[in-house]
């Protein structure tokens, strides 16, 4: 049995050796996707272009601008005097963010006309949300700083009143001196009390800002989330497509008949056709894993052996889908179209790009019918949290059900289509 399977497997590799384009696709595709998802598909906006209209030209506006200048991600690209010209630049996409300091601008604004006006180009979704976050952070820093300054100023002024010494040049009158000393002591005591009250009134800005501790992905890098998910996508695409194409190509070329009249049994034919792609998918899996860990510095905190075992389980699901497509499709073009039909919803709805929670229920139910939806959380948590697969009993059970049902169904159809 194994000699025949080996012969068929060797034939698949010989065909691949001659079909360099397909071979390149299978090896390079994960690399291309890695580069695309690791670098290009990046929701972390590195640079926000800004237009500043400063009609105030005062200390406060200067302070804000200084902060903006210090920030590496916000670039003051243009400055002007009218809001209209800034809005034009925003509309033309030259800048994403517009800041307008009105003539009466104050950091600690008490009235509407003293407030800073900010406009953001919402058509650049990720830049806009990044700009809003960034501006909120900068303005918070400015306000904190102003608060600190105000506090220092009040403290200084009060201590000056308190520490005012009696004039030594005035004629020393013993009784008066003693009185003055007592008044001074009492005054100082009162001042101390007031300072303590003031301390409570002006809390330490460092203390009223909560500490946010970002776990598992401290820098909130997109690549950290994308690349572990990419493993699932690569496995799904390569195995589904290649398994589907492999059998359909035999059908189309008329070589399937030659295999059917040979002593090859359906099971041997199946093994000979899917094992090579299982092997290639495993190589792709390792490529994505190694590149992710080394080039993108994504921490892999989980146990590799159990991760590999889950990936293998997921591979069987993909193989089943590919096999099923091969029994339905009449030619390679149809097989390709069907693979894309299966793949696109998994790309969009599985949580690979958009969180499941953001998908409305009218569509979200589809997500729960997709195998990738269950593989992704295991993948990400094994990578970033170092979780154990025992924590994913539900997801793994669903994947086992998927693998068994799809493979059984596909094999039944496969036997029927050969018969």
């Amino acid at each position: 049995m194994w000699r025949k399977i080996y012969a068929l497997m060797s034939k698949e590799f010989i065909q691949l050796k001659h079909d360099r384009r397909t071979l390149a696709l299978m090896i390079l595709l994960p690399v291309i996707w890695l580069v695309a998802f690791g670098y290009a598909v990046n929701f972390d906006v590195q640079k926000v272009d800004l237009f500043v209209v400063d009609q105030a030209q005062n200390e406060d506006s200067k302070k804000v601008k200084d902060h903006l200048n210090k920030d590496e991600e916000i670039v003051i690209k243009q400055q002007g005097q009218t809001v209209a010209e800034a809005e034009r630049a925003l509309r033309q996409g030259e800048v994403t963010l517009l800041i307008h300091f009105p003539p009466e601008y104050q950091i600690m604004a008490k009235e509407e006309q003293q407030k800073l006006n900010i406009s953001v180009d919402g058509s650049h979704l990720f830049s806009a949300s990044s700009a809003i976050k960034k501006m909120q952070q900068i303005l918070l820093d400015v306000q904190k700083e102003s608060l600190e300054d105000l506090k220092k100023q009040v403290q200084q002024e009060m201590s000056q009143i308190a520490l005012t010494e009696p004039d030594p040049s005035s004629p020393p009158i013993q009784q008066n001196q003693q009185l003055q000393m007592r008044i001074k002591e009492q005054l100082e005591e009162k001042m101390k009390e007031q300072q303590e009250k003031l301390e409570n009134l002006f809390p330490d800005s460092e203390q009223f800002t909560p500490d946010i501790d970002v776990l598992y992905n401290p820098d909130l890098k997109s690549a950290y989330v994308m690349i572990p998910g990419l493993i699932g996508l690569v496995l799904l695409f390569i195995t589904t497509l290649m398994t589907a194409l492999g059998l359909v190509r035999e059908k189309e070329q008329g070589t399937l008949e030659q295999l059917l009249v040979s002593p090859l049994r359906p099971f041997e034919l199946l093994m000979g056709k899917i094992l090579p792609y299982l092997l290639i998918a495993t190589i792709d899996f390792l490529i994505v894993w190694v590149v992710g860990v080394t080039l993108f510095d994504i921490p892999f905190l989980g146990d590799f052996v159990s991760f590999f075992a889950v990936a293998l389980l997921f591979l069987f699901v993909s193989l089943g889908i590919g096999l099923f497509i091969s029994t339905v499709a009449q030619n390679q073009q149809q097989a390709m179209q069907m693979t894309i039909l299966v793949l696109v919803p998994q790309f969009i709805l599985s949580g690979f790009v958009f969180p499941l929670e953001s998908i409305p229920w009218g569509v979200r139910w589809i997500s729960y019918l997709l195998p990738l939806t269950y593989f992704l959380p295991v993948c990400r948590d094994l990578f970033l949290k170092g979780s154990s697969i025992t924590e994913f009993g539900f997801e793994l059970s669903i994947l086992v059900v998927f693998a068994v049902v799809i493979l059984l169904f596909a094999m039944l159809r496969y036997r029927k289509s050969l018969g």
């Binding site: 025949k4 060797s10 399937l256 008949e257 059917l260």
Partner: protein, 298 residues
């Protein structure tokens, strides 16, 4: 060797009904019929790609088949040797045995210089030869060829038949389908199929002997004047009238009666314009088809 017992087969519509046939070892069987007559389906039924809807097909124990489909089923991107090696190994030969046998076969059909050429880049005739030797790499008892000479030039056709004969001489049973009626002469026995029906199964010489009609042909200059085939067909004693290439053929039971009747009805032709010729396999096929209730059209 292969026996069909009450075999019926349907494929969208009923194709074969209650076939009872026996194929003996070491003979060449020709499966003949026009396009769509059911030749390929019949061969696939014999080899087991299709299963009969009724009846059964009995085969000798451990009967090994070799099969060449009409489109040859070669791995076009793989080279000649790789194609042969793969099938050798698939049929259980070791790599060494497979290589030795492949080299032998390549020498046999003079394809050795092309061993490393991709199968897809061979000429039509070479591809056919490769497909044939690929099908006998495991030395089968029975070789089934589906239209091996279709679309091949006359020289290559001769070469392929020479190869088939050579394989047959080594004791292999051959079942070969063709739509070229002159190829019947190479066969020991012929099965005529028309529109899914088996019209007859007999040796070619027997078919010729049992042919019940006479064949008349009209001389070329007179033929041009005659356009109404329908009128000819409706004449008494005429089985059919049709053009074979540029030749007008008339099948009849009594040529003299036809000539006389024709002279009465048409003044533009004389009895001497008709020449009696020897029947060819085409006439046999047409007469069988007519008797079987078939229709070739005009």
């Amino acid at each position: 060797m292969i026996q069909l017992k009450n075999v019926s087969f349907s494929f969208d519509k009923p194709l074969f009904q209650q076939l009872n046939l026996t194929f003996s070892a070491k003979r060449i069987y020709g499966i003949v019929g026009a396009d769509g007559s059911g030749k390929s389906t019949f061969l696939r039924l014999l080899i087991g790609i299709y299963r009969p809807t009724e009846g059964k097909i009995e085969r000798s124990d451990q009967l090994l088949y070799g099969f060449v489909s009409e489109n040859m089923g070669l791995y076009e991107e793989m080279n000649v040797m790789e194609n042969l090696l793969f099938f050798g190994q698939l049929y259980g030969l070791s790599k060494e045995e497979s290589r030795k046998r492949s080299e032998e076969l390549l020498a046999w059909v003079k394809l050795e210089p092309f061993a490393t050429r991709p199968a897809g880049k061979l000429s039509g005739g070479m591809k056919r030869k490769l497909a044939v030797i690929r099908a006998i790499v495991h030395q089968p008892h029975c070789l089934i060829l589906d239209e091996p000479t279709y679309g091949v030039d006359p020289v290559a056709r001769q070469e392929i038949w020479a190869l088939i004969k050579k394989i047959h001489q080594q004791g292999t049973t051959i079942l070969v389908s063709t739509q070229y009626l002159n190829e019947i002469a190479y066969c020991d026995e012929v099965l005529f199929f028309h529109q899914g029906k088996l019209l007859t199964k007999a040796p070619p010489a027997e078919l010729m002997e049992q042919f019940p009609y006479r064949v008349l042909s009209l001389s070329e200059e007179k033929r041009l004047q005659l356009k109404d085939l329908k009128q000819l067909r409706q004449m008494e004693g005429v089985l059919d009238a049709y053009f074979r290439g540029t030749e007008l053929i008339l099948l009849c039971e009594d040529p003299q009666a036809v000539k006389r009747a024709y002279e009465k009805e048409r003044t533009d032709l004389q009895a001497s314009d008709w020449i009696e010729i020897e029947p060819s396999y085409e006439e046999i096929f047409v007469s069988l088809m007519k008797r079987g209730g078939g229709n070739l059209g005009d």
